[in-house]
């Protein structure tokens, strides 16, 4: 294979960046370095774990006073709001407390208890890139920031003149060039087995419980919260969404995972496609549902 491909641990997963152009390898290495730096910047701004991130500052202070945020965080919060509106609240970034309770996110000592009535409408985006929380809600951008980081890294490669390449952040990925490409989806209960799917969408993201589930309240759960019930979803199936932007694909997987029925109605307005894999029995049988086949 021509080109250069590297991987680093970032965003709590392995991030792989590839350039397939026929460039001197030193140039590719340098371009990939810069793309990794972009991903690292998104992580530094939007990490829930890092108490110094911009997101942590919002969670600590924005219910007391407005907080100014960077262009990147602003873009993600704006997109999150649009997705919440489009899905009538099936996408909601105020689910952090439920994830903390189940141990998917750390508890920060300086966080006060969150309001139990809050929701995405309590995140106010004010002129001048300022954020205010109308209630003491706590935000987690885990459902969207990874996709955004992928989009940013791809934009960086494209602006640098790269024609063909890809960025894959633990399954949230986007390709540059390659109008039709083959992706492999993991079998939800046998994750080293792969299902090839051909697509013309540049980006894809998958939500599944296979490497991340936890036993919680007597059920095997994955780190996705149903915004209506504030309960964690089952870890059984996997949902992959194909879209033009990775941020959109990433966020739509959360919507489809939480509520496949209502979620499927949201796909169309984003020209997206969803493929759900659901194991039927312990024998390894698996159902494939594809919105493009409907």
């Amino acid at each position: 294979m021509t080109g250069t491909r590297r991987a680093r641990p970032l965003l709590g997963t392995l991030v792989e960046i590839a350039i397939e152009d026929d460039l001197p390898s030193a140039d590719s290495v340098q371009l990939i370095d810069r793309a990794f730096a972009t991903v690292a910047r998104v992580q530094a701004l939007m990490s829930f774990h890092n108490p110094l991130s911009e997101l942590s500052r919002i969670n600590r202070e924005a219910w007391l006073r407005t907080v100014s945020v960077s262009d990147e965080t602003w873009q993600v919060l704006t997109a999150a709001q649009q997705l919440s509106e489009a899905s009538d609240g099936l996408f909601d970034i105020t689910v952090a407390p439920a994830l903390e309770r189940a141990g998917f996110l750390p508890r920060h000592a300086d966080h006060l208890p969150a309001s139990s009535h809050g929701g995405w409408r309590d995140v106010e985006l004010l002129p001048g890139q300022q954020v205010r929380l109308a209630r003491r809600v706590r935000l987690d951008l885990g459902g969207i920031a990874k996709g955004f980081a992928v989009d940013q890294a791809i934009a960086q490669l494209r602006d640098a003149g790269v024609v063909s390449g890809s960025v894959n952040a633990g399954g949230d990925l986007r390709v540059l060039g390659n109008p039709t490409h083959t992706l492999h989806l993991r079998h939800p209960s046998l994750p080293t087995q792969l299902l090839p799917v051909s697509t013309t969408h540049a980006a894809a993201a998958t939500s599944a419980g296979y490497f991340q589930h936890r036993q919680w309240a007597g059920r095997l759960c994955c780190p996705i919260v149903h915004p209506g019930t504030r309960l964690l979803c089952d870890a059984r199936r996997s949902v992959t969404v194909f879209a033009d932007q990775c941020l959109i694909a990433d966020a739509l997987t959360k919507i489809l995972y939480a509520d496949p029925e209502r979620g499927s109605r949201v796909l169309e307005q984003f020209q997206a496609r969803a493929v759900m894999l659901e194991p039927v029995t312990h024998s390894g049988e698996c159902h494939v549902f594809d919105s493009a086949a409907a």
Binding site: M1, R5, R6, A7, R8, P9, G12, T13, L14, E16, A18, V29, D33, S166, N168, G170, G171, D172, L173, V175, H181, T182, L183, H184, L185, R186, H187, L190, P191, T192, Q193, L194, L195, P196, V197, S198, A205, T206, A208, Y210, F211, Q212, S238, T240, P260, E261, S264, R265, V280, T281, G284, E285, C286, H287, V288, F289, D290, S291, A293, A294
Partner: protein, 186 residues
């Protein structure tokens, strides 16, 4: 129930049957990212010399590392390079491996002279545990079907959508490398 969705559910879903043992071997997902030399260059672009200094721990040092890192020491020798730029000590390049339930990863950690992490690069990633044979069987189900279109066995797998491992094993590995520095490279 919403019509669109009923349509979706009404699609006869492709049912992937339980696997049958197959003798055909297709490669599991594997990626070779960097050779050791390329990783050295990527992590220390300004270096002029990498001095091979494999580390052999005494039993006391090994148990000190385990205690500090809360991870078991594997193997007696750790590949380590002392990194120099025109005689100046820049830091250390440490090669390491981690094994997960499904994967095997070779990676390198760059430490500066004081032992702070400068960067981590993956050299080699392989998914294992009999995946080769099982995967061939699973993929064979799609031959001639919609999902299998364009698929050839042995086709290179470039992009997998679906989380890889959580990076827990690599974080543990880096913690162990930091402990190694503390115990034997300081």
């Amino acid at each position: 129930m919403n019509d669109d969705f009923r349509k979706w559910w009404a699609v006869p879903a492709i049912i992937i049957p339980a696997m049958v043992p197959a003798a055909i071997a297709a490669p599991a997902f594997a990626a070779q990212y960097l050779t050791q030399e390329q990783a050295q260059q990527a992590l220390f672009p300004e270096a002029s010399r990498f001095v091979d200094q494999p580390l052999r721990l005494t039993p006391e040092q090994a148990s000190a590392v385990e205690k500090y890192a809360r991870v078991r020491m594997r193997g007696a020798e750790q590949p380590v390079w002392r990194v120099e730029a025109s005689g100046r000590h820049l830091g250390w390049f440490v090669l390491d491996e981690v094994y997960g339930k499904h994967e095997f990863i070779t990676y390198a950690v760059a430490l500066d002279a004081s032992g702070a992490v400068l960067g981590v690069e993956i050299l080699d990633y392989r998914e294992t545990h009999g995946g080769e044979v099982r995967q061939a069987a699973w993929r064979a189900q799609f031959t001639g079907k919609r999902y299998g279109d364009g698929l050839r066995l042995g086709e290179e797998i470039k992009n997998i959508s679906g989380a890889t491992l959580s990076c827990k094993h690599i974080s543990e590995g880096v913690r162990r490398v930091l402990a190694l520095h503390q115990v034997a490279l300081k």
